[in-house]
C-alpha cells in the first residue's frame, strides 16, 4: 500500500524527521488560506500516488496567498498520469543548497534491509551512476547501529553539524521501516538548508501482508472496483486494456495464459488468479466479475491440482442458469476430476480443451470475429 506524500511526511515528522511546514487543501480557497497561514512563498503539490509530478505540471510555486489559490485551481480536479488530483499539499518553499537521496528498502537477493544513499538527489535513483550510490546492508537482527550511521554519513562526505543531523536521522528512518512494516521509505530529495536536513518529499510503501498489525496507519485504496471485489473474495485481479477476460488458477499460469493470448495476437482484459482450491461459490463470483467488465470472450484455464474440475464446471453452469452469458466462453479443463467436469460441460453445450494454447488460440479467434 502506497501512502500519499502528506501521509508519508506525517509519519516522518512523528518520528522526529524534519519536513517543511505544510497543510492539506481540497479547494483553491483552502490553499490560499493555508498559504497565508504559512506566511512565506509556498509550493503547491498535487497528492497522487505517482512520481514525476513536476513534469506533469503537478507542482507549482506561489509567492502570495492569491497566487496559491490560482495555482491550486489549476491543479485540483485535473488529471496527472491518468490520476485525478483531489487534494494538494501547500508547503513553505525551502531554500535548497544541496539535494541528497536517502531510502531504506528490502534487497530481495541479499534478503536484507538496505540503506540506499546518494549525494546526487532530486532525480530518479535509476539514473544516478552506480559509483555515486551508497548501498549499506543491515543485519535485521542487529538493526541500524550508531557505527553504521557514522559510516554511511562518512561515505556521503558530510561533516560538522550536518553529519550529526544525518547520524541522528538514519536510525529514525530505519525504525519507521521496521516498525511500520514498510517495503520502502524514500526521501528524495533530502534537502540541505542551512545546517538542517529537511525531507522535501516522502515516498512510503507499506507491505500489504503487514497491514493486519498496522492499525495506526491510514488506509489508501488504489484498486479499481472490480479489483476490490475480487480481493474481497480472496482472488487476485488486475485490470488490463484488452477484450479477452481471463481466469486461471495460480499467478504463474495466469501470466502464462496472458502471454499465450498475446502470442496469438489477442489482448487480455484482465489478470484473474482464482488461486488454488477455490470452491464453486467463489469461482461463480469470479465469473460474475469477469462478465461485469463486458469482455468479448471469456477464457478459463484450469489445471486442477487442489482445484477440482467439477467445481469449476458446476460454477459455470450455475452462472449460466442464473443469468444470460452474452459472450462465448472458452474453457481448458484438466486435472483433478477432469472426466466429471468435462462431462458436465458437454451436457450443457460447452466444449472443453485439453491444451491451454489451443484454448487461447480459439479465444483470440472468437474475439477477432466479434
Amino acid at each position: 500500500m502506497k501512502l500519499y506524500e502528506y501521509m508519508g511526511k506525517n509519519l516522518l515528522s512523528s518520528y522526529g524527521i524534519s519536513v517543511p511546514r505544510g497543510k492539506m487543501a481540497a479547494t483553491p480557497g483552502d490553499a490560499s488560506s493555508a498559504a497565508s497561514e504559512i506566511g512565506s512563498e509556498v509550493v503547491i503539490k498535487s497528492q497522487i500516488l505517482s512520481g514525476k509530478r513536476g513534469k506533469g505540471g503537478g507542482i507549482l510555486f506561489a509567492s502570495t496567498p492569491e497566487e496559491a489559490g490560482v495555482a491550486a485551481a489549476r491543479i485540483l480536479g485535473g488529471s496527472i498520469q491518468g490520476l485525478t488530483v483531489e487534494s494538494v499539499l501547500v508547503e513553505e518553499k525551502i531554500n535548497i543548497e544541496r539535494e541528497f537521496y536517502l531510502a531504506v528498502t528490502v534487497d530481495g537477493s541479499a534478503k536484507k534491509p538496505v540503506i540506499i544513499a546518494s549525494s546526487s538527489g532530486g532525480m530518479d535513483i535509476e539514473e544516478v551512476p552506480d559509483e555515486e550510490i551508497i548501498k549499506y546492508h543491515i543485519d535485521v537482527f542487529l538493526g541500524l547501529q550508531p557505527y553504521a550511521a557514522r559510516e554511511i554519513t562518512r561515505r556521503l562526505g558530510l561533516t560538522g553539524p550536518l553529519a550529526r543531523e544525518m547520524q541522528n536521522m538514519l536510525p529514525l528512518l530505519y525504525r519507521i521501516f521496521r516498525e511500520k512494516d514498510a517495503e520502502l521509505v524514500e526521501i528524495n530529495p533530502l534537502v540541505i538548508s542551512g545546517d538542517r536536513l529537511i525531507a522535501a518529499d516522502a515516498k512510503v510503501t507499506i507491505d500489504d501482508d503487514g497491514l493486519f498489525r498496522q492499525q495506526g496507519l491510514p488506509r489508501v485504496e488504489e484498486r479499481t472496483e472490480a479489483e476490490q471485489k475480487a480481493h474481497a473474495l480472496g482472488l487476485s485481479y488486475v485490470q488490463l486494456e484488452g477484450n479477452i477476460a481471463v481466469m486461471a488458477n495460480g499467478a504463474g499460469i495466469t501470466m502464462g495464459t496472458l502471454d499465450i493470448i498475446q502470442h496469438y495476437g489477442g489482448s487480455p482484459s484482465n489478470f484473474l488468479d482464482a488461486g488454488g482450491g477455490t470452491g464453486m461459490e467463489a469461482t461463480a463470483k469470479a465469473l460474475e466479475i469477469l462478465l461485469s467488465t463486458n469482455p468479448k470472450v471469456i477464457l478459463i484455464n484450469i489445471f486442477g491440482g487442489i482445484t477440482r474440475c467439477d467445481d469449476v464446471a458446476n460454477a459455470l453452469i450455475k452462472v449460466k442458469n442464473e443469468r444470460e452469458i452474452p459472450v462465448p466462453v472458452v474453457i481448458r479443463l484438466v486435472g483433478t476430476n477432469e472426466e466429471i467436469g468435462v462431462k458436465i460441460l458437454q451436457e450443457n453445450g460447452f466444449e472443453a480443451y485439453k491444451m491451454m494454447h489451443e484454448a487461447a488460440a480459439k479465444a483470440v479467434e472468437l474475439a477477432g470475429q466479434q
Binding site: V106, S109, V140, G210, G252, D259, F303, G304, G305
Partner: protein
C-alpha cells in the same frame, strides 16, 4: 540421489490439524513421504491419519530424528513456528504459507542462515523428489521419477510444465518451488548448484517470471554448468508497475523485464521456450533423446 530431500527424509507437519495441513498431510502420506509427527499446540497425544500429534517441535524431536518440516501455519504466526523449528534443529523448512509479512520473512531467513538451515518458500508449493518424498502441496499424479531437475518460482505453472514433461515420458529428479515472495530462502543459483552436483539430474528446467533479477543471476551460473538448461519465463505481456498476483511478478523501473531475462538466459546457453508446452521437446533435444 536427488536434492534436498529423499526417501530417507523424516518429515514433520507444523499445523497438522488445520484444514490445509490435514488435507495435504494425507496427500503426502499417499505419495510415500515419511511423516513422523504432526505439530499442533494443545493437541499433543492425538492421532491424525495414523500420525502422532505433538504440542511442540521439541517434543517430536524427543521421539524421532526430524530432517524437515512442512509449515501450514497462518501468516501472523508463521515466524514463531519457523523460529521454533530452526531453534529445535530442523535443517529443512518448507513454508507453504502465503502472505507472511516481508519483515518476518527477512527474520526467518536470517535465523536459518545463522543455524545452517535451508528454507524453501515462503509462499511455495514445496519440493518433490519424485517417487521418493513430497513435502508440499502439488498434485501427486504428475510427479514421476526421472532425469530432469525442475526449479520454479510459481506453482500451477510448474504443475503445467511437469505435467507436460510426464506426458512426454520425461520424469523428474527433484522439483523445487522457490516461492513467490520478494524474500525467499533459496535462489535459482542455490538450486542450480545442487542440480549440477546431483548424479541423478541430467538436465534442468527453470521456470521463471518477470520481476527481480534472479533469472539474470542464474544466467551467470548457467554459463558454467555442464548440464543443459531449458527455461520458460512467464509475464511477457504484463504491463510495468502492475502486481500480478504475487510479489514476484512485478516489473519495477525497467528492471527484471521479460526481454532482459530471455536475452541473459540465451546468452548463457539455455534454450528458452516461448510457450510452456514447448518445454518437453526442447529438453529432449538438449538431452539428445
Amino acid at each position: 540421489m536427488a536434492i534436498i530431500i529423499d526417501q530417507n527424509t523424516n518429515v514433520i507437519v507444523q499445523g497438522a490439524t488445520g484444514n490445509q495441513g490435514r488435507f495435504h498431510m494425507r496427500q503426502m502420506l499417499a505419495y510415500g513421504t515419511k511423516i513422523v509427527g504432526g505439530i499442533s499446540p494443545g493437541k499433543g497425544g492425538l492421532e491424525v491419519d495414523g500420525v502422532k500429534i505433538y504440542d511442540t517441535v521439541f517434543a517430536a524431536m524427543e521421539d524421532h530424528r526430524v530432517d524437515a518440516s512442512c509449515l501450514f501455519i497462518p501468516a501472523p504466526l508463521a515466524k514463531d513456528a519457523a523460529f521454533e523449528a530452526i531453534e529445535a534443529g530442523v535443517k529443512v523448512l518448507v513454508i507453504i504459507t502465503e502472505h507472511i509479512p516481508l519483515h518476518d520473512e527477512m527474520e526467518i531467513i536470517r535465523l536459518a542462515r545463522l543455524k545452517g538451515a535451508t528454507v524453501i518458500g515462503p509462499n511455495t508449493f514445496g519440493v518433490v523428489s519424485s517417487g521418493k518424498c513430497k513435502i508440499g502441496i502439488p498434485p501427486n499424479q504428475f510427479f514421476v521419477p526421472g532425469p530432469v531437475g525442475v526449479v520454479a518460482r510459481s506453482g500451477t505453472l510448474t504443475y503445467e510444465i511437469v505435467g507436460n514433461l510426464t506426458v512426454g515420458g520425461i520424469g523428474q529428479s527433484t522439483v523445487v518451488g522457490l516461492g513467490g515472495d520478494r524474500v525467499v530462502g533459496l535462489s535459482f543459483v542455490d538450486v542450480l548448484q545442487r542440480f549440477e552436483k546431483d548424479q541423478e539430474t541430467k538436465a534442468v528446467v527453470l521456470v521463471g517470471e518477470i520481476g527481480g533479477n534472479q533469472e539474470e543471476e542464474a544466467s551467470l551460473f548457467i554459463k558454467k554448468m555442464t548440464k543443459p538448461v531449458v527455461a520458460y519465463i512467464a509475464g511477457k505481456s504484463a504491463p510495468p508497475g502492475k502486481r500480478m498476483g504475487h510479489a514476484g511478478a512485478i516489473i519495477e523501473r525497467g528492471r527484471g523485464t521479460f526481454e532482459g531475462k530471455v536475452t541473459a538466459l540465451k546468452e548463457a546457453g539455455a534454450a528458452v521456450a516461448t510457450l510452456p508446452f514447448e518445454v518437453p521437446a526442447l529438453i529432449k533435444d538438449r538431452m539428445g533423446l
